[in-house]
């Protein structure tokens, strides 16, 4: 790295390389970090896992499961969206992209579970931040900056995350046949209930079929988790409340797991790799209007997660800009990211919106505070940065 700094060269940081289709195509030589792998320490009673940055997620999940624990943000494996092999991604990639699954709206995002890290900045200096305990406010929370920095600030070498008890049992309620407005209202009821709902999603009929459900009708999904007595009480009460919206059915076990894996990993819902795919962060109640605004411009397939706060939009015919103008206008003041598109389109339009000028300038100053020569992931998030 010091050599790259001295030469003014660019380095594109890579773990398993399963997410290289995300963001703008970066400049420079690939720096393969995949050998920074292995568990440093795991103390289930302390809820703390410390690993080298390129430790495979699969290895981590197996280890935690042995103690009945998991990463509560339910890390998705998006690899198949870009035609990469699933099951290979590393924790460093998940953290660097701040990827969180259906449980996010309840349990927090990847960034909320990163307790500490060690890294090498763009000056070639090793540094660390955070700690190895679950509660810590010592110094700036650089963990938040590193999560979602897409390898543009520093090369992660070690990661400490919070591990939490995995739920004992899981059951999914399905409300069938709802249009998006009613679905979002039903999701709000589930999210605002006093029960431990840990996944709330809505799939129109076409996507429900792809998730392994009936393709005849839309499915609004509510996952409840916990010890069996709690689960029984929650599902009974929620079945009554959601009954006001439509027919409610329930399923357990493998079917439930398979559906939520499809919602989590996204690619099963949008398997056509030739189509562009947008990911939106929005105020949940605004979701129906946003979808209508976009549909007024072009036809698209849609899926909703996070009780309506996360939308996946796949235009069928979006035109030259991949639908950027329509999607971003509709999403505002929320946020839209172009997750899947040909490299040329990802270079032309900003997959990640840099925001208004003052925010963009601040982002550049932050980048330079870690990486003044702009060695890492040059252009990955914003052109030139």
């Amino acid at each position: 790295m010091r050599a790259a700094v001295a030469d003014g060269a660019a380095l594109d940081l890579m773990g398993a390389g399963t997410k290289r289709g995300l963001g703008r195509p970066a400049e420079g030589e690939v720096l393969d970090l995949s050998r920074l792998s292995g568990v440093v320490s795991y103390e289930p009673d302390e809820l703390v896992l410390r690993v080298r940055a390129a430790t495979p997620m699969a290895e981590i999940e197996r280890l935690l499961a042995q103690s009945g624990q998991h990463l509560a943000f339910e890390p998705p494996d998006l690899a198949a969206l870009w035609g990469e092999e699933a099951g290979r991604q590393t924790i460093g990639g998940v953290i660097a992209c701040n990827l969180s699954g259906p449980r996010r709206f309840r349990a927090g995002a990847a960034r909320d579970h990163l307790l500490g890290f060690a890294a090498v900045n763009g000056r070639g200096e090793a540094f660390k931040a955070g700690g190895h305990v679950v509660k810590n406010v010592t110094g700036y929370d650089l963990c938040k900056l590193m999560a979602g920095s897409h390898g543009t600030l520093a090369a992660l070498t070690e990661i400490t995350v919070k591990a939490l008890p995995a739920p004992e049992e899981s059951r999914t309620l399905v409300v069938s046949g709802l249009a998006i407005d009613a679905a979002v209202r039903a999701m709000a009821v589930a999210a605002g209930s006093p029960f431990e709902t840990t996944g709330i999603a809505h799939l129109p009929a076409s996507r429900a079929g792809l998730a392994g459900l009936s393709s005849d009708t839309a499915a609004t999904l509510v996952r409840c988790e916990g010890p069996e007595p709690a689960l029984r009480a929650a599902t009974e009460a929620l079945t009554r409340e959601l009954g006001a919206f439509g027919t409610v059915t329930a399923f357990n076990g493998d079917t439930s797991r398979a559906v939520w894996r499809a919602v989590r990993d996204v690619a099963p819902l949008f398997p056509d790799r030739d189509r562009v795919l947008w990911r939106l962060s929005v105020a949940p109640a605004a979701a129906p209007a946003i979808v209508r605004d976009i549909e007024a411009r072009f036809a698209c397939a849609v899926a909703l997660d996070w009780a309506g706060g996360r939308l996946w939009i796949e235009p069928t015919e979006a035109g030259e800009d991949g639908g950027a103008d329509a999607v971003r206008r509709a999403a505002a003041p929320g946020h839209a990211v172009l997750v899947r598109a040909p490299a040329a389109l990802r270079s032309r339009i900003a997959p990640i919106d840099p925001g208004p000028p003052a925010a963009r300038a601040l982002a550049e100053r932050i980048k330079d505070s870690f990486d003044p020569r702009r060695v890492f992931g040059r252009g990955r998030m914003f052109a030139g940065v």
Partner: protein, 495 residues
């Protein structure tokens, strides 16, 4: 505690600064008389005091922006302040600095239950947010013990916790958006009512930045539906080791209680003598475990925790049979600080986090230190997340006791770091733990943090003298290569 030496050139232009402030904030919004300034001379860490140059109390974002721009142009330091309840000196004034009070930003702007969030000005108290959504069965989860007084802006600046944060998270986990003003007057909005927009996470970075990066002028928090019910267990143990073992086994069984608090014998006695909550005065340690959620879940988990406790040598286990009884169990814990205040003229509250398994080691070493310094100590402990609050008992009027208490406190925090923990779990570094930062971070770590500061405030005017043990000029940080901990530019004033 050594603060930056006041800049004589700034002190000399005090009148011009006050005039400039009055041109922005009219009437009582600028305070300059020594009698009135005295009200702002310290925050919750009362051992340190200083009179600010002036106090500005703006009521609009435009005014905040103009005040900061004026101060930047005139080279004047600024210390932001909410309710002034910081326990680490985060709002300690500077003699050559303007104290920027956000108290007039005291309105809740929007309650949006459809999106389960509240948009509020920063000077609203933590508790007022919960009260604003109480009618619909919602609440704002982080509950620092000062919640009737502390403001949400201060909570964001300090990333405040509370007794329920193992299950529900601290401030940073419960925020959706904020608006901030940079030292150059620029207004930047981050997030909103949505989660996890891409781009650098300024929301997360600002949270817990202790007023050094920007002045927060609006906050959007998420609110949660209140659990249907809550039940508490009051469990006495012969020793802290047994209580610690019970905590580990509860978590090992996959149970994350809403709250899990431990007190040692001195804290139990002080609390019991004060509020008569029915605590076992002879117990070596006391645990309060609160389970919350749906009724069936709470019943189920309470029985499991009770069984675990009995298998961990519990002396007695009581389960709250009513809401009154549950609140009585908590009354002693919640009154622990004033209870200790009754048995000692002064106390000094510390705030470190340790890996929980180190608790016996830390308590034993603390007892040794207590003998060494000749000062008593009582411990309350957020047991679930390892956040320890030792209360050091001293008498400020006895010569040398304050200094001994501070030295004792520093030794405790060093001990926390030594066993794998951190200097502060929820109170912040402020001025209090500033000079201990080097025990946890090396020069390269601190330099990286300070470079981030430079991205926001290149002249170092916003709340300087807090968090970092040494002041660096940004230009210097841009050049300096720390090599084996040796600092260059040794001629620069540091403190």
């Amino acid at each position: 505690m050594l603060m930056p030496i006041p800049d004589a050139a700034v002190l000399a232009k005090r009148e011009a600064i006050v005039r400039g402030l009055r041109a922005i904030v009219s009437g009582e919004g600028v305070i300059a008389s020594p009698e009135e300034l005295a009200a702002y001379e310290c925050d919750g860490l009362t051992a340190y005091r200083a009179l600010p140059l002036a106090v500005a109390l703006p009521s609009t974002v435009v005014q905040v922006s103009a005040v900061l721009r004026l101060c930047q142009e005139m080279g004047v330091k600024v210390v932001p302040r909410g309710a002034g309840t910081s326990l680490s000196g985060g709002a300690l004034p500077l003699e050559d600095g303007v104290l920027l009070g956000l108290g007039k930003f005291n309105r809740i702007l929007e309650v949006d239950l459809e999106n389960r969030c509240v948009v509020t000005q920063p000077g609203v108290t933590n508790l007022a947010i919960s009260q604003a959504v109480e009618h619909a069965g919602f609440y704002y989860a982080p509950d620092p013990s000062s919640q009737i007084a502390c403001t949400i802006g201060g909570n964001v600046a300090e990333n405040s916790g509370g007794v329920h944060c193992l299950k529900y998270g601290v401030t940073t986990n419960n925020l959706l958006g904020l608006e901030m003003v940079l030292m150059n007057g620029e207004v930047i909005r981050v997030g909103g009512k949505h989660m996890d927009a891409d781009g650098y996470d300024l929301l997360g970075l600002l949270t817990g930045s202790e007023g050094l990066l920007g002045v927060i002028t609006e906050v959007t928090v998420r609110v949660l539906r209140k659990p249907a019910t809550a039940q508490a267990l009051l469990i006495g143990f012969p020793t802290s080791e047994a209580a610690g073992d019970c905590v580990a086994k509860v978590i090992g069984a996959g149970i994350i209680p809403g709250g899990m608090e431990m007190m040692d014998n001195p804290a139990i006695r002080a609390a019991e003598d004060f509020v008569h909550a029915g605590y076992p005065r002879e117990a070596g340690a006391l645990l309060i475990v609160e389970l919350d959620g749906a009724e069936a879940e709470v019943r189920h988990l309470t029985a499991r925790v009770e069984a675990i406790a009995r298998a961990c040598q519990a002396l007695d286990v009581r389960v709250s049979a009513s809401e009154d009884e549950r609140l009585r169990f908590w009354a002693g814990r919640k009154a622990a600080f004033p209870a200790v205040g009754r048995i000692s003229p002064d106390y000094y509250c510390m705030d470190g986090t340790i890996p929980r398994k180190q608790l016996p080691v830390v308590l034993a070493r603390m007892a040794e230190l207590s003998r060494h310094y000749g000062l008593r100590v009582a411990n309350v402990f957020h047991a679930g997340d390892g956040n320890l609050h030792p209360l050091i008992l001293y008498d400020a009027n006895a010569p040398g006791e304050l200094e001994r208490a501070e030295a004792f406190g520093s030794d405790i925090l060093r001990l926390c770091v030594e066993v794998g923990g951190v200097l502060t779990g929820e109170h912040g570094v402020g001025v209090e733990k500033r000079d201990l930062m080097g025990t946890m971070f090396d020069e390269a770590d601190l330099a990286q943090q300070q470079r981030v500061k430079c991205a926001f405030d290149p002249d170092g005017l916003l709340n300087p003298g807090k968090v970092f043990p040494q002041l660096h000029r940004c230009a210097e940080l841009g050049r300096v290569h720390v090599h084996h901990g040796q600092l260059r530019f040794a001629h620069l004033p540091r403190f």
